[in-house]
Symmetry: C2
Subunit: 682 residues, 2 copies
């Protein structure tokens, strides 16, 4: 027998470790180290939530020889549990299993207790669980004439004794229900306790008779165009359903600024838009509940993110102030309300949390993306861009983070492009141009082969080829540049009309014919200019942040949002949308905002983390920075008039740079400044 306090226990995946006396329950050891192991029943061996696995072997690096012989024998509560429920071989209940020697303990992330099918996990990310709402099973003393404490008061006594929550407050709706629930559960109940983030008493938000071994939450990104929602188990962390819908506010205006105008010009405009988005959210909740086979009343927590205008309209706040300088947010800090207070019928005690907004144009969605990608958690300098519409830009590392928004306008969504369209079947999304022949080949959404492969024409006849989507527009401009069709100043070279019938003159300028036929798709000089203006605005914003950081290159780039997911990093660099970077370190990060919402849903520490981070992020107002104009003009060139792209040049043969640095035709001084006036577009 080793010394009583000599057992080294390492918990994975957290890597936290400590020494514990013989017979310490594994759950207790985890608690002492701050390792979150779920437990609803408080160690009674009935909920099965606290499953762990012993990793056997010699872990030389940690100096641990871990063995199933170093843990108490399977039995007691575990046997009883395994008889009634499914307990995988090798799994132990950490409330019952006791430490007898050195151990490496794995906390599996898939301890599925109920029979629910996990249909889809929104991404592969494992989020350590520590939800804001804790399910606490308690056994309450029966009423006693000698001790006339109320039923609720005895319940709260039990919650304090077993779970340590003191002075617990109570949601008003429960006063009228507590006696019936206690009697229905025969004095055994599960209390859902919400613990506030910044101190103070916790709150009893829901109460269930008997053992309630599940609780759910939703995480939702309210985009101006699309709403994405995930339904997750607060106990296992698993995502049970994910769904999306169009934002019905689109009928009030496609872009954000037109929605703000609608509010300003219609007396009931704000109410109408708030109602529309909440109705859409309600329908989405129905949808994910049906998919996940979850009762809506079992949803106890919800996290929402969105850009500032979506954030305000969702909360019922008039966004008019966001429509003009100084772009004052009504509230920038994290918002905590009850779902019932904002017209979302979930459990009557359900809570809603919204991440903080970073600035008037850098919203809770950008905060959520920051939480997901964590520039503030790493030493490398990371650039995080949500290439929306109004681009949200975060740049930083563990020592300093800065953020800004940039008025890219709607060109990237195809709105100012002659052949532009939404990403939908029939839209060209990939393009290559042969630099010799200037002939294009392309790929169309909904059609498997490329345009020069067998079967394309038949499929195209069926699906139609109707336009070019955002990622396609990036590629075609970049490919035109790489093929020499446009100069670094963005001028379509009319001399090439002699070489190819695809170069077509229209008055003073030229166009490139992408596809002929019933629906002619052309890239005009104006289209190129629109993309130049948009990318120059984005780049100038990024450049201002780089100036603040005092750096001339970034280590990593994350491209967030739907648009970011589809553009090819190479073309983003060729176009000079983002600064030079090792191509392998430029990544689409998907719906990082939605993932951040899910992190905040499943772990309250992430709420604390992002709230603290946002207060430290320095906000740059691009409109107030005198250098914005210079950066903007330089960024009109492809990829940039003065910034070099050496890392890109290692993998892509860039055209020779011309010595002529004159302002490009058609870009008048002041174009950048004027864009400031439409910073809220889309």
């Amino acid at each position: 027998m080793t010394d009583a306090t000599d057992h080294l226990v390492l918990f994975m995946p957290s890597g936290k470790r400590g020494r514990f006396a013989t017979d310490t329950p594994v759950l207790e050891a985890a608690r002492q180290l701050g390792v979150h192991v779920e437990s609803v029943c408080g160690g009674r061996g009935i909920c099965g939530r606290c499953q762990v696995e012993v990793q056997e072997g010699v872990f030389a690096k940690h100096g641990i020889t871990s063995s199933n012989e170093h843990i108490s024998a399977f039995g007691g509560n575990e046997t009883r549990y395994a008889e009634k429920r499914d307990l995988k071989a090798g799994r132990r209940l950490s409330c019952s299993a006791k430490i007898l020697g050195d151990l490496v303990i794995d906390i599996p992330q898939d301890a599925v207790v109920n029979a629910q099918v996990v249909r889809k996990d929104s991404d592969g990310r494992v989020i350590e669980r520590n939800p804001a709402i804790q399910m606490c099973y308690v056994e309450v003393e029966e009423p006693d004439m000698h001790k006339p404490l109320g039923d609720l008061d005895r319940l709260l006594q039990a919650v304090e004794a077993d779970w340590g929550f003191k002075n617990v407050t109570v949601d008003a709706y429960l006063y009228g229900q507590v006696q019936q629930i206690l009697r229905k559960g025969n004095w055994k109940v599960t209390a859902a306790i919400h613990e506030p983030l910044h101190g103070g008493p916790a709150t009893l938000v829901a109460l269930y008779p008997g053992l309630k071994n599940e609780a759910y939450g939703i995480a939702c990104d309210i985009g101006s165009t699309t709403i994405a929602m995930h339904l997750s188990s607060l106990l296992s962390g698993r995502t049970l359903a994910s769904s999306g819908a169009s934002n019905p506010q689109i009928r009030f205006g496609e872009d954000l600024m037109s929605r703000v105008s609608y509010v300003m010009m219609n007396p009931d405009g704000r109410e109408g838009m708030t109602k529309a988005v909440r109705e859409a959210l309600n329908e989405l909740i129905d949808k994910v509940c049906a998919q996940g086979e979850v009762d809506r009343a079992d949803i106890l927590d919800a996290v929402f993110v969105g850009n500032p205008i979506m954030h305000h309209l969702f909360l019922g706040i008039d966004p008019t102030e966001l429509g003009g300088a100084p772009f004052a947010l009504a509230v920038s800090g994290a918002v905590n309300v009850k779902s019932s207070e904002i017209g979302l019928p979930l459990n009557p005690g359900a809570r809603v949390y919204m991440l903080p907004c970073i600035a008037g144009h850098v919203g809770a969605d950008a905060a959520a993306a920051t939480l997901t990608e964590g520039p503030h958690r790493q030493d490398e300098m990371m650039l995080l861009v949500d290439v929306g519409t109004n681009a949200e830009i975060v740049l930083g590392n563990s020592s300093r983070t800065v953020a800004a928004s940039s008025p890219t306008g709607p060109a990237f969504e195809g709105a100012e492009i002659s052949c532009g369209q939404r990403a939908a079947p029939g839209a060209i999304e990939r393009i290559r141009i042969n630099p010799e022949t200037l002939e294009p080949r392309y790929r169309v959404i909904g059609i498997e082969p490329w345009s020069d492969e067998p079967g394309f024409d038949e499929a195209a006849a069926k699906v139609g080829v109707t336009g070019v989507c955002g990622s396609g527009i990036i590629e075609i401009i970049a490919e035109m540049y790489l093929a020499g069709i446009i100069t670094e100043d963005g001028v379509i070279n009319g001399d090439l009309a002699a070489r190819s019938p695809r170069i077509i003159g229209n008055g003073r300028t030229f166009s490139y014919l992408l596809r002929d036929g019933e629906q002619r798709l052309m890239v005009t000089q104006n289209d190129v200019r629109a993309i130049q203006l948009a990318k120059a605005a984005l780049y100038a914003g990024i450049k201002l942040l780089m100036d603040k950081q005092g750096i001339d290159h970034v280590d990593r780039i994350g491209l967030a949002g739907a648009f970011g997911s589809f553009i090819d990093p190479k073309y983003a660099l060729v176009l000079g949308l983002v600064p030079d970077c090792d191509l392998e370190r430029v990544k689409a990060v998907g719906n990082a905002a939605g993932t951040g919402a899910r992190m905040a849903l499943l772990n309250r520490s992430h709420r604390r983390e992002i709230e603290a981070t946002v207060t430290r992020i320095e906000k740059i107002e691009t409109a107030l920075e005198s250098k914005f104009q210079d950066h903007f003009v330089n960024a009109m060139a492809l990829p940039n008039k003065i910034d070099a792209f050496p890392r890109l040049a290692e993998v892509v043969k860039l055209p020779e740079r011309s010595m002529d640095t004159a302002a490009a035709d058609g870009v008048e001084p002041g174009a950048a400044r004027r864009r400031g006036g439409r910073r809220n577009r889309s």
Copy 2:
């Protein structure tokens, strides 16, 4: 010049004192000593709430020579304030006036700032103010693109900087209003901040543009028969209006038990009764607001007390469990909800506080009466009795307090008495019987002269003499005993029929004819028995508490409630309703429950005090005490079969005690026990 830290300052009426440096503002000195001085503007000299007065003279006891020369000269903010508003001669603004020497400072309780007429103060009691809701005037930084903190966040920053409230949470309804209010007030606003009693962040519950120099609260005692409400200024403490109404639940049942039965037998019974009482409260709120010329939306806080069944029905809790053993309260602790959550439209952020209940039959009203009379604050042993219906009894001093209820039944309200009626015009309320002639003289509600004085008959012809009210019944039984008409065992002595025509035989027993004529008013043997049963139950309950305390007499007696206000302490003692006591120390304490509610409204420390006190009060369940039966049988006698009343005997000539201690005729063993079954009557 004296030493810089050498000025002794004494604040009255609190008596707190300390030494302060020259130039310390008086308000600051008060804050440091924990002396509550109201201030809405935070020391800017504009609200006028922080008025004080210098007491001039030599205060030898305190070693202070106080003089107006020991305070800075009147001027600056004070002059500006006095030009615009009324500032009484001698009054100083403590935020502006600075300490220059030793001072005795009086904090007046009548610093009326607005022109409101104070119509009525519910009693003479001065309650030190420290309300749960504080009005905090702040000046908020305007939005700045360089520091994109939200409007609300900057407001909360100002509240923290000027008032010290950290991590303030926000009532959800304010999110949509904050921007408009800030702009309307030109960035000067008054925040109403609610500070929780048991730690944790305070909450912003209301927000007003500019300086909001008033806030109101209501204090209400919901009796089973009558509802009493006071409207008070949270800032000055003054009561602006008081009003009362019948409890409309009477239509569901006169006494409490019949209301519980109604709930049990009617599916919507609970909803109906909750609705009825809330409607009545709403009407009363309208009434006190009209009287006090106060806008209902300016009511920010409300305190309610009531017996357990009223408490539960008001909160929307089914009281069925209170209808039978073990008489389980749904909640016994103090209740904190928003007024909007219980259907009382006040300010949308208004809070509601209910005092704790002591036990299943000793409610928040008894707790409030305890708070008012404070047996727990004194060394003397005080008995506090609400001689209702179900009597609530508290007995204690600063070292120990015990409480119980006793099933007195409705006799004291006249319900089981042949000539009984409510206290209303036409009811006999005072009676004297001439021991020689056995002739009565009496006084009737609504008639000024006594029955043997000129003018009585004319008035009686108009008003009518229709019955005897509760206090009259006590007096007539006591006077009959003193006159020898009834024996100490409660038997009407038939031998006296020979001496007086007022003694009339009916079969085996006799009656006393109180008034002849159109409406004959008799006191029958059954009437005497009913009062004996009621008073014996009350006395037995008191006696159990005295046993617990190990005492044979009490130092003081407080008779609470409407009934307690009208009975003559002497007759209560003659009858043996309460134990022997110095007559001068038996006092009616009025609506002590309503006063307690007002104390909790105006001073949050009183909430803390009563919550702590109630947890320490020992609850005695009379039905479980074996000695209850013995005490009850002994208490059937007048004043008591075994307990002496020596202090009473000093002022009242009591009849000789008979040696015969046999059980009185008609009181079968078990009568007391059976009464236990109707402990919830009325």
